[in-house]
Subunit: 198 residues, 4 copies
């Protein structure tokens, strides 16, 4: 099977998700700075989700570079990931419109948790069809960062109803952790001077 069409489809979905979030910015009925400033929570919520979707696209891009083949379960694991990501625009708008209140913040965290879990499942499906000494296996490794993220999301969800800003800070923290480029895969690629992986 070809991985190129999987990449193209995923890119398409992620590009659309990142873009339709902007439709939730309702054009203010007044032409004043005050009207613009009242959109600040929606904007902050948008920035956070934009960064998360950027991270997922980036990691997906890196991951697919060390993938040699895909099969049926991988296609569905990928669709499963895209399903949870597709709900991000909804929770982003809900969280922004309600000024980061407890329940929407917790639901936002739940979507992040499900997305993170889906990404984890995707890597496992890929590992199952690659050899133990493949570049993919070396690159993914034990995936500590992924598991830590899932734990932090869980803590944030529990805290959200009481201290929603702590939960939000935790989401920002996880995003910062991922903004540091995934050097594992880059290292593996550098160790492959033949460039075959590309």
């Amino acid at each position: 099977m070809k991985k190129s069409r999987l990449e193209a489809f995923s890119d398409g979905v992620m590009a659309i998700l990142i873009t339709i979030m902007v439709l939730d910015f309702k054009v203010p009925s007044e032409a004043s700075l005050a009207a613009l400033c009242s959109l600040a929570p929606v904007f902050l919520s948008y920035v956070l989700s934009y960064i998360y979707l950027g991270i997922y696209w980036n990691n997906h891009h890196h991951l697919m570079q060390v993938v040699h083949k895909v099969n049926g379960p991988v296609l569905w694991a990928n669709l499963h990931l895209l399903f949870w990501l597709s709900l991000i625009p909804f929770v982003t708008a809900w969280m922004g419109n309600h000024h980061f209140e407890g329940i929407p913040v917790a639901v936002y965290g739940a979507i992040l948790l499900f997305s993170g879990t889906a990404y984890y499942i995707l890597t496992r499906c890929l590992l199952a069809i690659h050899q133990a000494d493949s570049p993919l296996a070396k690159a993914v490794g034990r995936d500590g960062k992924g598991i830590i993220s899932l734990l932090v999301y869980s803590v944030a969800i529990l805290l959200a109803n009481f201290h929603s800003w702590i939960a939000c800070s935790l989401y920002v923290m996880v995003a910062c952790m991922w903004l540091i480029p995934d050097t594992r895969i880059e290292h593996v690629l550098m160790d492959d001077p033949t460039g075959k992986l590309e």
Copy 2:
């Protein structure tokens, strides 16, 4: 003619369809779990349509792998398929907003029936320009699964107005039947050790 642009266009349309469905989730005006729960029928409707579009993308992906050439009629048969798929977001929202009432459920089934028929026509158009012993012909075969689906949709449409939940269960059943990967094409691909098809 090139099949790559046909694939790219179909991927684009399907990626957009799968994504704009989420625009039908109206952001609740309250930040409560009760408000979220009231979206449950819309969510269930979304999940079902997401899976159906995923199945179509998946089968389209498999089908195109054994296709060697495309022509004018194939381009239009493909656009015809995308036309019916493009109506899925509309019927999904209608069915979800009206808690799976009879008429919307029947109309949903009609769109599935037209989509299934359009897919069948697409495979016939492709078979017409491939030889009888081509990998495509072997892979598509008599297409029993496709014909059974069309029959089940028809039954569901007739039942929808009286027992709409039976109709919905039939839609779920067909989806489950298709989630099992289309092993026919994978078998044909495996029998082709030269990898020429890719």
Copy 3:
């Protein structure tokens, strides 16, 4: 310059246009067949525009196959074409919502006229950078079909305000004329047994 990215971008825009038109189907507030039937004019308008966008995608696809190179003016001529096509969802919804009244039907025709002109300009820009005996030149030729379409659109615009259904029939007629595959380009491709063009 590469034509592949021009194709990818055009495909993306056309795929999105064909899909967002469906957002103009407002979900009926009732779950009845009568509510669905009241959408009939919007649906007919959608079908017509879907076919027109399909024709543009199809012809663009054929045209690009015989193109060997693109340059700056071609990129802008292509963006100019996409600009007019991007207004089709707007006029489609306006025409459908107002049951094919005179003014919206005339404006619809104007957008078709501008799109057709933009396509004509695109072919001229392409011819300017290809040789007189290139496959492109042979395939495009004098482009009688394109010029006839422009004339029919002009007549329809003039008639729309008095007999809007005659104007609509003319739009349908032009669409039918184009649904017949553009055999000119297919002939040129067939005369090129080396397959270099692909």
Copy 4:
């Protein structure tokens, strides 16, 4: 790393942005020319933004042709550019709906300024991983046009609140300046008769 997926993702986002702007044309409730004419400011605003997005796509296309490799910072610099571009539909609608009043015009200029800065940062990130005598370095050079644009945007933002039409004229002026094709990169490509860059 592969630049092809970066291009595909950027194309996707820009294609969607250019298209969803059209959703801000609210279908008039009347079928009259007067209702259509009342949309003129929204239309003018749309045309300006369409041209700007076209310029960005065009320049991005040219830039990527002389790029040999991308890395993590480039991916993020690109996402940063797309972030500011993603806000263009919002400011376009705000500016159009409020007939080019001071505040929306200034905010529109601010988004152009941030987008221009983001594009500048992207070129610097690319230069950092290419050699000083690479085609990219020759093609980008000192980027006078980019810096002039940023200065003009800044002036326009300051003027917008007092003379919003002067600010708008400055935006149009910058767009005209960029519509002249970026001959620098074309020259470098022409000096490379081996065609390796493509």
